[in-house]
């Protein structure tokens, strides 16, 4: 009876309610598992998308370059007075002067040393260099006066592309009358037109007052701290007491001064009307009137006082809305381009002398300290040479090592020791390989064998990266060779192929796709590697495009790292652009590997 009670009838085991519950639990587990999996993948995709979005949206800014198109007079006396057409003479020509002259002609309003310097700052140093290149390549341009494309400076470039803020126009509902046309002038308007501007200033004053009040409060804290200490002191510590009292007095004085300042500012801010200065940490305000532009320095409800940037045509009163009050959304201190430069740039833009073009320089020029001149070509070529060396060393050595270990090496303690070490090498931090490169490649190879300084050459970088890539390639190649079915080896040996023939005719072609995959993984790793390259000096600032493996070179990731360290806004974008180029490099390498793999696989 016990038996029949404990063992249910077979059909009820799988159809009872308990069984259904069990089944349900299993399905629920499966569903949970799937949900987790999908969530993980979604997370990964989101991370990837946000990464790519950040990189690409940043890089986009670097893809376009602002140019000023101005007539430049390349007069013969300035460049080649003797009409020699000799490149070495032309090289020394005063192209910078030509550029400056062109700027002065285009914006005659700029006068005085300071203004001139700001004016010249609109154009990059590269503009003169470009003209020099042009003249050297084509001396017939000397003596001509034609519109030339002048590369804008990075700040001008950023302003034109809108990265440094924009200009918005405020309503002007009353007549305005300028008093004066140049220098520092006043503009009087009806109907408290400037009241909103004054409000902005007063709001900022309130904020300043609040800041002072907060300072005062902090001083108050100091006071109470020392008062507390004082109350704990005994009667005999008179020296200490005096010290504390001095501290308290100091804090109290400071508190009083802060409070006083805060009160004064607050009073100014809260009082209606009055005349207030527009500080440079506020948005800049401009008045466009009678064909001129005035930068506002002081404002009251109906009057502004400011500096003329572009001279006014006359002092004639102007009807409401026929003049303009403009606000630059960023403050002057927060950007490197001055209000004056902005006005000039807008003037040039209005007259059609500004063009925004695709930035070919990014891809054709090499590194530069000037952000608008810097490009990735040098680094890309450096990376190419480095990768070439890496591939030429790591691939054959790695594949041969893998073949030997997998097919020929006897299985004994020595080979297994070597295997363990190869596997461990793959996990060694890359900086260690950099040290090795420094010690062996540069010190030993460079000085003792090649008798040449290999520091920061693509050869040294390639050797170091090859060392780093070798374990990856060996491991991948061994796995690929091991995955070739033994039946193929047996078949080859069975018809009388020697071991080497069996491997080279049959095993290797079949393992090649896997080997290539492993190689690409290793090469991709090497391509993105910075640390060992830093160790062997490929961090150096190199302006020239390397022409071979023995030239000084840098590499894309190093360049990315370098640029990311520079403060210029444009470098930030170019960093992203360089990352995109690095990714393209990587995709190209992968594509080549896929193509090669296809070829090998098509041969069955």
């Amino acid at each position: 009876m016990a038996d029949t009670a404990t063992i249910a009838a077979p059909d009820s085991i799988h159809t009872s309610d308990a069984a259904h519950r069990r089944l349900k639990r299993r399905y629920a587990f499966e569903t949970r598992f799937k949900v987790f999996g999908i969530a993980a993948i979604t997370l990964a995709i989101l991370a990837l998308v946000s990464l790519l979005w950040t990189v690409f949206s940043n890089a986009f800014g670097a893809l376009y370059q602002t140019n000023l198109v101005l007539p430049v007079s390349l007069s013969a006396e300035r460049i080649d007075p003797g009409a020699t057409n000799d490149p070495s003479v032309i090289r020394r020509g005063d192209f910078e002067g030509a550029v400056k002259e062109a700027l002065r002609t285009a914006l005659p309003a700029a006068s005085g040393r300071r203004e001139r310097r700001e004016l010249y700052g609109l154009v990059s140093d590269g503009a003169a260099l470009d003209l020099r290149e042009l003249a050297m390549a084509n001396p017939s341009v000397i003596g001509s006066k034609e519109p030339r494309v002048l590369l804008a400076s990075d700040d001008a470039n950023l302003w034109i592309k809108g990265y440094l803020g924009s200009i918005e126009t405020l309503p002007t509902d009353g007549r305005a009358t300028p008093i004066g046309t140049t220098g520092s002038i006043e503009i009087v308007a009806e109907a408290n037109v400037f009241q909103p501007l004054l409000t902005v200033v007063k709001e900022s004053l309130l904020k300043k007052a609040a800041a002072f009040e907060r300072q005062a409060m902090l001083q108050q804290r100091g006071v109470s701290y020392f008062e507390n200490l004082l109350s704990q002191l005994g009667d005999d510590a008179s020296e200490q007491r005096a010290d504390y009292e001095r501290q308290i007095t100091g804090y109290k004085n400071r508190e009083a001064s802060f409070t006083e300042k805060a009160d004064a500012i607050r009073k100014r801010a809260e009082a209606p009307g009055g005349r207030e200065a527009v500080d440079s940490d506020l948005s800049s305000f401009l008045v466009r009137i009678n064909g001129g532009v005035v930068k506002v320095r002081e404002v009251s409800a109906d009057t502004v006082r400011g500096d003329v940037i572009l001279p006014l045509a006359s002092e004639a009163p102007v009807a409401a809305n026929a003049w303009q009050l403009q606000r630059i959304t960023s403050s002057e201190v927060s950007r490197k381009v001055s209000d004056r430069q902005i006005v000039w740039l807008e003037e040039l833009r209005k007259s059609g002398n500004v063009s925004v073009d695709f930035n070919t320089r990014l891809f054709t020029s090499s590194n530069s300290r000037e952000s608008e001149l810097a490009g990735v070509w040098g680094a890309a070529v450096g990376s190419f040479w480095t990768m070439l060396v890496t591939f030429c060393l790591a691939f054959p050595i790695g594949v041969m090592a893998a073949i030997y270990l997998e097919e020929f090496a006897p299985k004994n303690a020595i080979t297994s020791f070597i295997e363990v070490n190869i596997n461990n090498l793959a996990a060694v931090p890359s900086i260690v390989f950099g040290l090795l490169g420094l010690a062996v490649v540069i010190e030993f190879f460079g000085e003792d064998i090649f008798n040449q300084d290999l520091r920061s050459t693509a050869l040294a970088g390639g050797i170091v990266l090859a060392l780093m890539t070798l374990p990856t390639i060996i491991i991948a190649a061994r796995a690929a060779i091991k995955a070739v079915p033994p039946s193929i080896r047996e078949a080859a040996l069975g018809v009388g192929a020697s071991k080497v023939q069996a491997v080279s005719h049959h095993v290797l072609p079949l393992a090649m796709p896997g080997i290539l995959t492993g190689t690409i993984i290793g090469m991709a790793q090497a391509l993105g590697e910075t640390a060992p390259l830093l160790m062997i000096g490929m961090f150096a600032f190199i302006k020239d495009v390397p022409t071979g493996v023995m030239d000084d070179a840098t590499a894309l990731p190093v360049q990315v790292y370098q640029w990311s360290d520079f403060p210029e806004r444009l470098f930030e974008m170019k960093t992203a652009a360089a990352i995109v180029v690095l990714l393209l490099f990587l995709i190209t390498m992968n594509a080549i590997a896929v193509l090669l793999r296809r070829r090998f696989e098509r041969k069955w």
Binding site: P410, K411, P485, S487, I488, R489, E490, A491, A492, L493, G494, V495, G496, A497, S498, Q501, H505, H506, L510, K603, W604
Partner: protein, 274 residues
């Protein structure tokens, strides 16, 4: 259990029909032992394989029959830990002599494996590979002729003549196995070793291969390892039964399958525990 009435009747005798010459021996094994490391896989095997006949090797898994087969073309050399002792003579010459080249041996002793293993190349290349590495043929025309001849002998030519440049792996299992046989024939061997050649094939493909083996017998000495007793009975003239590394019994196939001498053979071929 011994019920022998007249033991003289029971001695295994090589059946020699009157008027037929005693068959010439192609492969002769003498005292062949194989060790895998410390483990001995084959114990002192003596076996004569007559020329132009089919010898099947049967026995339970791990009995050493495949090991023995692989001694004959020295495929065991590939395994590091394998050690072969004794003599195996191919046409009177010990194949384990130091002056015998293993590559030459394998050209003379072809092998067909359990799973059809054509190279992942074209049908033509599969056949041409062996002759090419041995330099058997002088010209492309010779090679073409040899490929065709090998495929014809393997009974495959008519099926594949229009697609010689297509991959060998695209053929059916049975065709692949015949391709492997053709590949083995292409190096003009004396002996063909077959290690369970039909274990991956369906009965029709098996029958075709068995018919092929029977035809090949006229020109080659064939040794076949099989797990199918019926197959051994069908294709072979002589059968050797291996058990736990020993050659237990060898004799005329007809006798082995109707009246084996050793009780271990009896138990094995009738499917009894033991």
């Amino acid at each position: 259990m011994d019920q022998r009435v007249d033991t003289s009747l029971l001695e295994p005798q090589r059946v020699v029909l009157p008027g037929e010459a005693a068959p010439e021996t192609e492969v002769a094994a003498r005292g062949v032992s194989v060790h895998y490391g410390a483990k001995q896989a084959l114990f002192d095997v003596d076996l004569d394989v007559p020329k132009n006949s089919v010898m099947s090797l049967i026995g339970p898994s791990g009995c050493g029959k495949s090991t023995f087969l692989r001694c004959i073309n020295r495929m065991n050399d590939v395994i590091d830990i394998a050690r072969v002792s004794g003599r195996i003579e191919l046409e009177g010459k010990n194949i384990y002599d130091a002056d015998l080249d293993v590559v030459e041996l394998r050209a003379r002793v072809g092998m067909v494996f359990q799973k059809p293993n054509p190279f992942p190349k074209s049908i033509y290349e599969n056949i041409a590979y062996g002759p090419r590495i041995h330099g058997i043929t002088a010209s492309k025309a010779d090679l073409d002729a040899l490929v065709e001849d090998s495929l014809r002998r393997a009974g495959l030519f008519d099926e594949v003549k229009d697609r010689l440049q297509e991959p060998g792996t695209g053929l059916s299992g049975g065709q692949q196995q015949r391709l492997c046989i053709a590949r083995a024939i292409a190096t003009r061997p004396d002996v063909i070793l077959m290690d369970e050649p039909c274990s991956a094939l369906d009965p029709i493909a098996t029958a075709i291969v068995e018919e092929l083996i029977d035809e090949l017998r006229a020109n080659y000495t064939i040794m076949i390892v099989t797990h199918s007793m019926q197959q051994a009975a069908r294709v072979s003239q002589r059968t050797a039964f291996f058990h736990l590394g020993y050659l237990v019994e060898e004799g005329d196939t007809n006798r082995i399958f109707t009246n084996p001498t050793d009780p271990r053979t009896q138990d094995y071929i009738t499917g009894r525990t033991g």
